[in-house]
């Protein structure tokens, strides 16, 4: 009579790995082929937005080396600030063109509703991040913007919690909290695009009874 050994306990690691593989198979994370209908310049605006975001973050990292007031007294600092401003403008321009394209392609079809939702959330969170950036300029702009914005924030009852007149708080929201949020949402958004694949053309639908 041989003893029957109990089945090996499934490790958390194995369970997590299996879950991830089912959600996003390895060959879908970074495929080297795309459906043939992915053949229009409108498709590049997603990756341009992502690239723009990285330039914004990189220029922000350089600014953080000098501190929030560095750019007022340093020529290099002022140039880096300019790169940060213009990359932000480019980022928003590409994101909006990407949004226009995805709307006219009805890209939410085929169970891609959550991809659309994360895109909109990324848009709104980016606006919040830019807003706290404008508050962190430590110049006339941030004085005026904070004075005006406080009325909007206070009117809905969150002014005691989010004090736009407090640069020490707003700077940290701008460089820590909100970029983290934008980053996480962006990663989720892109993973969802990889999981579902690029939406097929309108008109290719089959009617089912």
């Amino acid at each position: 009579m041989t003893a029957v050994s109990p089945p090996p306990e499934r490790t958390w690691t194995a369970a997590f790995k299996d879950r991830m593989s089912r959600t996003l198979p390895a060959d879908q994370v970074l495929p080297d082929r795309q459906p043939a209908y992915v053949a229009s310049w409108i498709y590049v605006f997603g990756v341009l937005t992502l690239a723009g975001l990285l330039v914004v973050v990189a220029s922000g990292v350089v600014l953080s080396v000098g501190g929030s007031a560095w750019w007022h007294t340093s020529g290099l600092g002022h140039f880096v600030n300019s790169v940060h401003l213009w990359s932000t403008e480019l980022f928003f321009a590409c994101m909006v063109i990407h949004l226009w394209g995805k709307f006219w392609m009805a890209a939410w079809r085929g169970h891609r509703g959550l991809t659309w939702v994360t895109g909109v959330v990324a848009f709104v969170t980016s606006i919040g991040t830019a807003f706290t950036g404008y508050l962190s300029q430590t110049n006339f702009d941030s004085q005026w913007i904070s004075g005006e914005a406080k009325d909007g924030i206070n009117s809905i009852g969150i002014g005691g919690f989010m004090n736009v007149l407090n640069p020490a708080q707003m700077l940290m929201w701008h460089i820590v909290l909100l970029p983290l949020a934008v980053g996480v949402i962006t990663v989720l958004h892109i993973l969802m695009v990889r999981r579902h694949g690029v939406v097929p053309p309108l008109g290719d639908e089959e009617a089912s009874s």
Binding site: G52, E89, W104, M105, R109, N139, E148, D151, N154, S208
Partner: protein
């Protein structure tokens, strides 16, 4: 006997994208090219157009360029008539604040950042040790009852408003108690450059929170006048704009649009109303995939035929 015929429900089923013929597509190369393009464009635009850096308005600037405004603002704080003194939450209980659809959101937020507007003037003066004029004026102020304090401040504020250019030197003679001396001391303190420090640090070594300085500055007209001259005012689409010819925030166009039109342009609850409207529109945008009619617009206006024209041509042929 015939079976009951169920009405046919037509659901469109989007095909699986993996069922289509594919072709080689180098995502990593595309990303690298995108990064080079965006970096290059950012560097070139930054090099050519730079970025604005209009210096902050200091209290000393304000006191030097608009002394009558500083005096009027200081007296208004003591009389309890300034914007901050009558604001409500989160600074004080002086007003219920804004509401929208019957929801008193501002009041419900609570006084989470209490600021005594009179202290915006009095605390810096108290911290300024050694000046006999200031000490005497403060002693006289402290000896008055709250009603007497308000009456004196209000009387002096009215007199200032009647004086030519609001000039304290041309105020009609009258008994304004310690107000003229307090205002004069405050103006002198502002001109000296020490006012921000005493408002921002409030006795501590480290500052960082500019709330008190900003509330005081915003209670005056000088900051707003400068902003309006730069087309940054609320009823000038200011939320979209930047100083000079620099690019602003074009993506804020819809948010600021509502402030330019009725009923918002004349509403006391405009901020709360516009916020709620924009939250609603954002929610609409987010839920677009599930909203009939709106989600069908791309089918009715077929711009997509341009995107997929090669595909449609291959399908027909």
């Amino acid at each position: 006997m015939t079976a009951t015929v169920q009405p046919r429900r037509h659901h469109r089923v989007t095909p699986d994208s993996h069922d289509y013929p594919t072709r080689s597509y180098d995502l990593v190369k595309e990303f690298v090219i995108a990064l080079v393009v965006m970096t290059g464009l950012s560097l070139v635009l930054a090099g050519i157009f730079s970025s604005p850096d209009d210096p902050s308005i200091t209290m000393s600037d304000w006191a030097t360029n608009a002394p009558a405004d500083v005096v009027a603002t200081a007296v208004g704080e003591l009389a309890g008539t300034t914007t901050s003194a009558t604001y409500g939450a989160p600074y004080n209980h002086a007003s219920e604040g804004q509401s929208v659809l019957g929801l008193k959101l501002q009041k419900w937020g609570g006084v989470g950042n209490p600021v005594d507007s009179a202290d915006l003037v009095l605390r810096p003066l108290r911290q300024e040790n050694g000046n006999p004029l200031t000490k005497a004026a403060l002693a006289q102020w402290d000896s008055l009852t709250p009603e007497q304090q308000t009456a004196a401040a209000t009387a002096y504020a009215d007199a200032l408003a009647k004086a030519p250019d609001g000039d304290p030197a041309q105020v009609a003679k009258g008994d304004y108690g310690p107000l003229p001396a307090l205002a004069f001391s405050f103006l002198r303190l502002a001109k000296s450059g020490g006012l921000e420090g005493s408002l921002t640090s409030s006795g501590d070594f480290y500052g960082g929170d500019a709330t008190r300085s900003m509330l005081l500055l915003s209670d005056g007209a000088y900051l707003e006048d400068a902003a309006v001259a730069d087309r940054l005012g609320g009823d000038q689409w200011g939320m979209m704009n930047e100083v000079g010819n620099y690019p602003g925030q074009p993506w804020m166009w819809l948010y600021t649009f509502w402030y330019q039109v009725k009923p918002f342009s004349t509403s006391e609850n405009a901020d709360a109303q516009v916020w709620m409207l924009m939250m609603g529109l954002t929610l609409l945008l987010m839920c677009l995939p599930w909203i009939p009619v709106l989600r069908d617009i791309p089918r009715w206006i077929p711009l997509h035929r341009l995107v997929w024209r090669e595909h449609y041509r291959r399908r027909v042929g």
